[in-house]
């Protein structure tokens, strides 16, 4: 595995975690709360801060990936045709929105719910960003990446990392239902990822030399990582179930959720890291050129 791609692994995962947090927060926590008139406690704003932190880490690592970061501002000059240019713009827009949102929430903690539109916008920007990010990899010269599995994988990574993290947060003001939904997401995405694996692999094996070589990379060169990821998926599912059954409507009992949620989150993060490393290991040109 090329060491030079670690920064990309961290950058993409950090951005996706950030977007995932915003998305899940918006849909599964804020949205149910929206109609009730409860004021948002400080803990909720910390969530934004975590998303912001993830985005900042992402941005820093995106710089580390560059050979010559001094010229980075130039990277916006080809939005016309370059998905990378678009990605960098996207990262800037999303991060700025998130920054503004977070600052406003902290500056005016009581204004919380009336600023929901800002969170909506940030989340939408995040969704678009992930699409752009995936488009970078969808190029004919990289047949193993040039498939809808790429955006699918990116979105799933965002959702599952966001959901499991928020589950860990045990937002007990949230409805019992939203906690259960987070747990369901934590379980079902790894299930889907597991289920898609054979589909992806059979696609690889059927589509030409480069992709066939991709299969070899998975099953031979990175065999250990490949199976470790399977185990981590299974662990994540198991912990997810444990978490699911630990959720009580009685919010005072929610302490029980912490341990399984933490374990699930750790398994998921580890699985996504390996998943992403394997993704970059699949960086192969058509037919060896």
């Amino acid at each position: 595995m090329k060491s030079s791609e670690w920064p990309l692994v961290i950058f993409t995962l950090a951005m996706q975690l950030s977007v995932g947090i915003m998305l899940i927060y918006d849909l599964f926590i804020l949205f149910p709360l929206y109609r009730s008139r409860v004021a948002l406690p400080m803990k909720y704003h910390w969530i934004l801060l975590i998303a912001l932190l993830a985005a900042i880490i992402g941005v820093i690592f995106s710089f580390l990936h560059l050979g010559n970061p001094a010229n980075a501002p130039r990277s916006l000059s080809n939005i016309g045709t370059s998905w990378l240019s678009r990605e960098i713009s996207g990262v800037l827009i999303y991060s700025s929105l998130l920054l503004v949102t977070t600052i406003l929430h902290f500056v005016m903690p009581s204004a919380g719910r009336s600023l929901k539109w800002l969170i909506d916008i940030t989340a939408v920007a995040g969704i678009i960003l992930i699409f752009i990010m995936s488009r970078i990899y969808m190029i004919p010269a990289r047949p193993t990446w040039n498939t809808f599995f790429t955006p699918l994988g990116f979105y799933m990574a965002a959702i599952v990392m966001g959901a499991s993290l928020l589950l860990l947060f045990q937002i007990n003001q949230g409805s019992w239902a939203s906690q259960k939904s987070l747990a369901v997401l934590t379980i079902s995405i790894p299930v889907i990822q597991l289920a898609l694996l054979p589909v992806y692999m059979s696609w690889l094996s059927q589509s030409g030399i480069a992709s066939g070589q991709g299969l070899t990379i998975l099953l031979q060169n990175h065999m250990i990582a490949f199976y470790l990821r399977l185990i981590l998926y299974l662990l994540a599912i198991a912990f997810g179930f444990w978490a699911f059954f630990s959720i009580r409507s009685d919010t005072t009992q929610n302490r029980l959720l912490f341990t399984p949620a933490l374990l699930a989150w750790a398994a998921i993060l580890a699985a996504q890291i390996i998943d992403r490393l394997l993704f970059y290991a699949q960086n192969i040109s058509p037919d060896g050129f």
């Binding site: 090329k2 130039r74 240019s85 970078i136 040109s285």
Partner: protein, 208 residues
């Protein structure tokens, strides 16, 4: 857009890699950076006969590629900084003063042409020996070929002389419209059937 192109006669290319080194000498390239690469394609079935002899249906040929200065260059489209750009004469060049070293052009190019210089943190690439061409000389690689298997010229003239074939197994479909014209080695016809592949990967790529 593009006006110049290369011609590679794969039926005569011996794989000697003189072109590769002529280029390295001209451009002072570290080991690991190859503006020009020579790919060795081979495939065969070997069978022992009843007599105890060996039968084979081998195909093998070599293919020398620099940058194809494509008419529809994926690298240029991908580059976020426009460091990778097309000159008015169609040559695709990297402006190292602008390049951020994101390596995206490297992913986008189907031919492995952009070469990352780790020490300098920037992308480098065959510049068609632009200085030579402007002086009316041949590119260093072309002038070096002991088999006289490489040529360079105006795209129109090359097509007239050698036809408009821009691919040979296992090169990808010429979607970028590479300005590389190829005379096919006769064996190439059977290459797909024999599951031939590039067998000298370590010599043409840096797989770390």
């Amino acid at each position: 857009m593009s006006t110049f192109g290369f011609f590679c006669d794969t039926s005569a290319c011996s794989g000697c890699k003189t072109c590769q080194v002529a280029c390295k000498d001209k451009n002072n390239l570290e080991p690991g950076i190859r503006f020009r690469r020579v790919y060795e394609v081979a495939g065969a079935n070997w069978n022992k006969t009843e007599e105890g002899a060996w039968e084979h249906d081998i195909v093998a040929y070599n293919l020398s590629i620099g940058c194809n200065h494509c008419e529809d260059p994926a690298c240029v489209k991908a580059c976020p900084t426009k460091a990778m750009h097309a000159e008015s004469d169609g040559m695709i060049l990297v402006d190292s003063k602008i390049c951020i070293g994101c390596r995206y052009c490297e992913w986008a190019c189907p031919y492995g042409s952009p070469q990352y210089n780790e020490q300098k943190g920037i992308m480098q690439k065959c510049d068609f020996c632009r200085d030579y061409i402007l002086e009316g000389k041949q590119p260093a690689c072309v002038a070096s070929c002991p088999m006289r298997a490489l040529e360079f010229g105006q795209i129109g003239q090359l097509i007239e002389k050698h036809g408009d074939n821009r691919t040979i197994y296992p090169m990808p479909d010429p979607i970028t419209k590479p300005a590389l014209f190829i005379r096919k080695h006769p064996g190439a016809r059977f290459a797909r059937k024999l599951n031939a592949s590039i067998i000298n990967r370590e010599e043409v790529r840096n797989e770390k």
